[in-house]
Amino acid sequence: METVTTWILNIGAVVLALLILATLVRAVLGPRFTDRIVAVNVIGTLVIAELMVLSVRLRADYLVDIALVFALLSFLSVVVAFQLVMSRQKNKRREEKQEGTAHD
């Protein structure tokens, strides 16, 4: 039982690492910037899963805390990107409106 568990956890860690690489390819390919943000968000989730697997496999409890901090940070990054994009969008709209009134 012990060896089976160890093997499955090893294989799981490798599979998760490959999935992270595949998602990274998606993030590089993504035609729009929202594609990239979605891919980065998925990478965050996968990294949390990977950290949890490692914490069970290596019996290292501190990795759980690291995963918690990682979850906080990946959520924060999405929120910051949202604020940036929306404020720029608002500025662009305002400029367009001003240009429109100037041309009229």
Binding site: T45, D61, L68, L72, F75
Partner: protein
């Protein structure tokens, strides 16, 4: 006996979660528009992390780490809908022509 049962159930959950993650990443590649891809990502975020973390909690056994895992899981479930809502709103606000990608219906 019960320990073996818990380990077995944990491994089964973990493998199913890996499968879910695999299909989520496959969906990221097979769909062709951001809003559709986001659904695949949402599957990984909700179902995948649910299965993997339940499995790992069973493997951890009754300890502090399992409680912390539960905390991470609750936190992810609280934040992942918010994150995908923000991404969707960003997309709809910045895309030049939404009607080309999907039909809009009023009810």
């Amino acid at each position: 006996m019960i320990e073996h049962l818990a380990t077995g159930a944990g491994l089964a959950f973990f493998l199913f979660g890996l499968f879910v993650f695999f299909s989520a990443v496959l969906g990221l590649f097979r769909f062709d528009y951001v809003l559709n891809r986001m659904h695949a990502a949402a599957v990984g975020d909700s179902l995948g992390i649910f299965c993997v973390l339940i499995g790992l909690m069973l493997l951890h056994g009754w300890s502090l780490s399992a409680a912390k895992t539960l905390l991470i899981f609750v936190f992810l479930w609280l934040t992942s809908p918010v994150a995908s809502h923000l991404v969707a709103e960003m997309e709809v606000a910045t895309v030049p022509d939404i009607h080309k990608e999907c039909e809009v219906e009023e009810r």
